[in-house]
């Protein structure tokens, strides 16, 4: 390095609004994504609280039919498009990917900034649509309902369409980064598993998201011009819309879970001081999940009028996608064997992830079985399944990541005791909300119901009470993180004693990431005693 390296942290190098708005630094972009997705989560969570409150009585409490329908649609759409899809890859991915590889930045910094701006633009449309007559189609936008409702479908769909491009461009950027910017010595099998997870996520983002884009575009065109592709009254096929939608949206659920699984690999190795068990199996299973996930979308259509032959095929393939997930879970457990386990709060989230995701996954198997899905489709059983995977899986991993990388990103420590208490509250609250939903779903409580049969009253009351416990948990997290921001104790460079590269620089990192390009001579997790 000929030139002098600036030793100040990337926050201090420049200040002011513009230094953020037009920054090309992947770390700042990552932080901005983090803030945006947190706001998204808060917004989606507020809708969730409102709709849970409405459901505390079997009849109307404070929302009219339409308003309830708009609430769950917005809850779903915001949680999916504004929070969970960008959550881990765009925020932690952006911040950590170059650091973990030992690179100075992502491959295309300007494209990176552009994706963030595109994301904001899309989000703006989605939020704007709330005021222009919020959509009431469900986050799935099924035709023909979405073609005829008088709410602002076009605006919301346009927002999701735009956000799709942000996701695609991030994927392109990550693929190029991982291929080209690995420093000498960083071979494919020396990359941290989080990077492998991001790589497979990117494949999904690049290959699946465009189909969502065109589907939403067609939906808008159909709505504005009645071209007759989806509208049955014009000879179109509404089930085709479902195919198109799920061709994206099933892979999308793995866009959510794969990075979460990547985080898990980081957490388990760090907090057990253990080299990962079955590195290659975990790495390849990420790719396997990415590929197989394209083959299973039809499991959302088992009762939609899809042909029995197609249902059979999709069910079979659905079961195959469970295998790589199984491989991962077992490898993580094996990694704990003989480790030196320190149950700090990030690790608690690891434990929560395993338990909750197993429940989510097992119920996924139930839903993937043709004969059972006939009964359970579109009941609260499905609602519970996907909250166990998305919230119990992805959100736990997201929180784990927040707690794990907070000292690196912010440079401050948080209150460990409060963190542990909050984690317990969240896990308990979560189960109180969603476990009863399995029971009532199996009994026949359909989803997206504003008023329901009084028989199900007890379950709903428990569920609503749980949502308040959850809210307390999240507010606690918010509280101690803000407290840490304001006067947290300064974090050391490597508080957890981890071996991956991001911990080899200062906390928070300097603008150029490393004072000199790190050279890599061994795998990412070779803790003391590893066989070489």
């Amino acid at each position: 390095m000929e030139h002098e390296v600036d030793k100040r942290s990337f926050y201090e190098v420049k200040k002011g609004f513009m230094s953020w708005a037009i920054t090309l630094d992947h770390k700042r972009i990552g932080i901005m994504y983090l803030v945006s997705v947190l706001i998204g989560f808060g917004l989606g969570g507020l809708f969730a609280l409102a709709l849970r409150l409405e459901l505390i009585t079997p009849d109307k409490l404070f929302m009219a039919d339409k308003m309830y329908n708009q609430s769950f649609t917005l809850h779903g759409a915001i949680m999916v498009f504004l929070f969970i899809i960008p959550s881990i890859p765009a925020s932690f991915g952006n911040f950590m990917l170059p650091l973990m590889l030992g690179a100075k930045d992502v491959a295309f910094p300007r494209l990176n900034l552009a994706s963030f701006h595109i994301f904001l633009l899309g989000a703006a449309f989605l939020v704007l649509s709330i005021f222009l007559g919020a959509v009431d189609t469900g986050w799935t936008f099924y035709a023909p309902y979405s073609l005829h409702t008088d709410t602002s479908v076009v605006c919301a769909v346009f927002g999701a369409f735009i956000m799709g491009f942000s996701s695609i461009l991030t994927g392109v950027n990550f693929i190029a980064t991982i291929h080209s910017l690995r420093p000498p010595g960083m071979t494919w099998f020396r990359m941290p598993l989080f990077v492998w997870a991001l790589y497979s996520t990117s494949i999904l983002q690049v290959l699946a998201t465009p189909v969502l884009g065109i589907t939403l575009l067609l939906l808008m065109v159909e709505r504005v011009m009645n071209i007759g592709i989806f509208d049955p009254s014009l000879g179109g096929d509404p089930v085709l819309f479902e195919h198109f939608f799920w061709f994206y949206s099933h892979p999308a659920v793995y866009i959510m879970i794969l990075p979460a699984m990547g985080v898990m690999s980081e957490l388990v190795t760090t907090f057990c001081r253990r080299n990962i068990f079955g590195y290659k199996y975990i790495a390849y299973s990420s790719i396997a999940i990415a590929v197989i996930s394209f083959l299973v979308w039809g499991h959302h259509l088992f009762v939609s009028g899809q042909s029995d032959f197609a249902s059979m095929l999709f069910s079979l393939l659905t079961f195959l996608v469970a295998i790589p997930s199984a491989i991962k879970i077992f490898n993580w457990i094996a990694t704990m064997y003989k480790g030196s386990i320190d149950a700090k709060s990030p690790f608690l989230y690891f434990v929560a992830f395993i338990l909750l995701f197993c429940i989510g996954g097992f119920t996924g198997i139930v839903l993937g079985s043709l004969s059972l899905d006939v009964n359970l489709h579109d009941t609260y059983f499905v609602v519970a399944h996907f909250h166990y995977t998305m919230m119990g899986g992805v959100l736990m991993a997201f929180l784990g990541a927040v707690h794990y990388w907070w000292p690196k990103m912010i440079g401050k420590m948080y209150n460990e005791l409060l963190a542990k208490i909050a984690c317990f509250l969240i896990v308990i609250g979560f189960n109180v909300v969603f476990f009863p939903q399995f029971l009532m779903g199996a009994k026949g409580m359909p989803r997206r119901y504003h008023v329901y049969d009084p028989e199900f009253h007890v379950y709903h009351v428990i569920s609503t009470v749980g949502s308040w416990i959850l809210a307390v948990g999240f507010i606690m997290v918010l509280y101690y993180l803000i407290q840490s921001l304001r006067n947290g104790e300064k974090a050391p460079d490597n508080p957890w004693g981890s071996l991956t590269l991001e911990w080899k620089t200062t906390s928070p990192p300097i603008l150029e990431n490393f004072e000199s390009t790190p050279s890599v001579t061994c795998g990412p997790y070779e803790y003391k005693g590893s066989p070489s």
């Binding site: 039919d65 480790g339 139930v366 579109d378 026949g444």
Partner: protein, 321 residues
Amino acid sequence: MNQKADSLVDKGGVWFSEPISTYAAQSDSLFYFILILSIIMFFAIGFVMFWFMIKYKRTEERPEADGQLIHSNFLEISWTVIPTILCLFVFYWGYKDFLTMSIPPVDAMEIRVTGQKWFWEFETADNGLKTTGEFAVPVNTPVKLIMTSKDVIHSLFVPNFRMKRDVVPNRYTRVWFEAEKTGSYKLFCTEYCGDAHSKMLATVHVLSDEDYEKWVDKNLSSDSVPLDVIGKKVFDVKCSICHSTDGSKKVGPTWKGLFGSKRVFEDGTSLVADDDYIKESINEPSAKIVSGYKGIPMTSFLGSVSDREIDGLIEYMKTLK
């Protein structure tokens, strides 16, 4: 036949409602099989994890790992192959049951079902009996439902029968069942279809053969009923979701004082509501859209409300002063 429908929660086990159709119990057993496997696996995973957490807890004396086992072909292969076998087995079982559920026996009795925002209509093929919001079938008889929708996608779901199928506009979908026990069972719409999706309910009566005959006779002979009573009946099942009779505004305008009053339309024109206007509003609702209701046109009832029923509705409206 207004008996109360069977409870879904009180009868049956913790998980499912009481199985009534021939294939219901069979399909539940697959669930219990997966459930037991899942519980075993869940507790095994949880137990091992917590055991490791306690046993290998990091202490001052033991800051580093005891050993670094990172590879075992035996383990990898076994936890790939065993789940695969289990999964394939479960797949086969589910598929087999699904075939039973989706292929109706040839001699099944046919009922045509029409879904429309937000009610269900049933027409028995044999005797032309048309009912709305409820229908009856004889016990121990295979019944095939041939379903279509007039507007958006709906889905017909009877939890007790473990039976569900989307009802798609411009297409026919079908399901079948054979109920093994008399009683009345709840039917839900489970595909989101708009404002009153959660109110799109119906009841299935499973009757003994004699009761079924009686039910058919009673419902077929409605000709002698006074017009305004017919009108009230149609109103209750088809119109009351969107129209009120007490002056309050629902999805559509109230009917209170509607007949004979001056109506103002979106395009600025107006007229006095007479019999012809009411008929047109039912058959071609979008011809004249009442001011303030743009964008949410009522769906046409052309063909699904008979002329006699329209007369009935008009008579009924006249009573709502």
